[in-house]
């Protein structure tokens, strides 16, 4: 079976990832995929590049634990998370979360749960570069609130 988590500089192919996730599994009736991409502006300023840093080892383990939690909470058949690191350009893909299940409801929920979890609990840090120089992105309390909808407390941005 293919690994569930990949953190790497290389881009991903959505079709290929979804095909691999549901390959040889006739029980799958739904696949939900979320793709996060780099915007060309931030806070009213144009963005030239975004650099993503992670904590090798811990980042992968944290996402594995999130997928374990998603498997406990939702009736899903498989999940795959790809997160890019390094220097990215506007319009580049950053992250993929794909979930397969028998019916759509559980896949939609598990996909959103995994993204909410990842935003506040996986060790990644974004640095934006624009005409005004570079700055580390601030964490948002709205992301903590998103995770709390699932009954999990998060004080990442607080």
């Amino acid at each position: 079976m293919r690994e569930r988590v990949s953190v790497r500089p290389a881009d991903f192919d959505l079709s290929e990832e979804v095909a691999a996730l549901r390959a040889h599994d006739g029980g799958v009736g739904a696949v939900v995929a979320f793709v996060g991409t780099v915007r060309d502006h931030s806070g009213g300023q144009s963005l030239r590049a975004m650099e993503l840093e992670h904590y090798p080892g811990m980042t992968e383990a944290a996402i594995e634990a999130m997928i374990d939690e998603a498997c406990k909470r939702f009736d899903i058949r498989g999940a795959r998370v790809v997160h890019r690191v390094g220097v990215l350009q506007p319009c580049d893909q950053i992250v993929l979360v794909a979930v397969s299940s028998a019916h759509r409801g559980q896949a939609f929920q598990a996909c959103e749960f995994l993204m909410d979890y990842l935003k506040t609990q996986a060790p990644f840090w974004k640095k934006e570069s624009g005409a005004q120089g570079s700055r580390w992105v601030d964490a948002r309390s709205s992301d903590d609130a998103a995770l709390e909808r699932w009954g999990l407390r998060s004080a990442n941005a607080a």
Binding site: G36, L52, E53, H54, Y55, G57, M58, A61, A62, H83, I94, V95, M115, L118, K119, T120, Q121, A122, P123, F124, W125, K126, K127, W136, V137, D138, A139, N156, A157, A158
Partner: protein, 83 residues
């Protein structure tokens, strides 16, 4: 006992990627942070109380009341911003 301290993102840029430090047995992560704050003006600024700093021991997120483990890898970093 010796622990290895690692920094990420803005803390790494200011303080370097890692450093080793000796701590008394029975210390907490909070006491480690205090020892680092006392070690240089730069550490004092970046790790100042009131600044949002998260921590992990042996690659698991934890609170600062956690007891240090001999030989542990402790990381300090800003709130995470992935996805």
């Amino acid at each position: 006992m010796k622990v290895q301290v690692r920094y990420f993102a803005s803390l790494r840029e200011a303080l370097g990627a890692q450093q080793a430090i000796d701590m008394p047995v029975g210390s907490t992560l909070s006491e480690l942070r205090d020892a680092l704050i006392a070690s240089s003006p730069k550490h004092a600024e970046l790790l100042a109380r009131g600044r949002a700093v998260r921590c992990a021991q042996d690659q698991r997120m934890c609170g600062e009341d956690t007891l240090l483990v001999d030989g542990a890898e402790v990381a300090f970093f800003p709130p995470v911003t992935g996805g």
